[in-house]
Symmetry: C2
Subunit: 157 residues, 2 copies
């Protein structure tokens, strides 16, 4: 069995164990230089936090345990299709590649697909079902928030 | 000053204080029934976890402190344009509306815009710069992961 299959099998096994523990069927691991540096399962059944997805928790665990630099160029292996939150999180963290075993098509009959959310998030903000409003501050003077940050970056005390 | 402006002003003030503390210029709060139930700032300067965005941390704090149900129908007020991770997280958590003061256009000159990431995440997986691979398990028998979960849901011990 090659490495990719071995890592995927382990992610699926994590997901299976999570089902036995009363959780959702999702597991993920972060691999760097051929080594597994973090694993996680979906923890919504424990925390009731609907953002506690396996992939997000796995990259957060990797950053916490090894420092964030470890994620740059890492690979994620996941039992299931990444949701838009986890995909964006992996991008922000510098993950290089993600491989998954079960697709959204596999998940759809069980209400576990995120295909509809993907499609909606591609729409312009004004056409999405969540109200997304840009409301520039109308106070005067307007705080130059980003300029202040740039100045703090270039001129640290 | 109406409520929306008051909440936005507070989010921007959180962001400003975070800059003073050495962090990035982002703050957010979660409002439910006219009350602020959680606040957060971007904590990347503390944790070095690149997913520690103000909006994600604010909804996680609200779920942790008040239970996840509180987020359904809640509103988020944020200093800055939501990134794709935070937007998807708010959707997953059931947040109803998000209002922000500073746009990606405001952020672009300072390298803080997520417009490019939004554009790329709209592409088909095969066209994105991160490698995203679907690799169905080829083992036999293939574990019926999602069926097992559905059975566990309908027939809890």
């Amino acid at each position: 069995m090659n490495d990719a299959n071995r890592f995927l099998d382990r992610a699926v096994e994590l997901a299976r164990q999570n089902v036995e523990a009363g959780g959702r069927p999702f597991g993920a691991l972060v691999v760097r230089d051929g080594e597994v540096i973090a694993t996680a399962v979906n923890e919504i059944h424990l925390s009731h936090d609907l953002t506690d997805h396996a992939k997000l928790l796995a990259i957060r665990a990797a950053a916490r345990d090894h420092g964030p630099q470890v994620l740059k160029g890492s690979a994620v292996y996941a039992s299931g299709h990444p949701c838009p939150m986890c995909l964006a999180a992996m991008r922000l963290a510098g993950v290089n590649a993600v491989t998954y075993a079960y697709s959204n098509q596999d998940a759809a009959p069980f209400g576990l697909s995120t295909a509809d959310l993907y499609n909606e998030l591609k729409l312009p903000f004004a056409e999405q079902s969540m109200e997304i409003r840009h409301r520039p501050l109308d106070g005067s003077p307007r705080p130059d928030l980003y300029e202040q940050w740039a100045k703090a970056q270039s001129d640290p005390e």
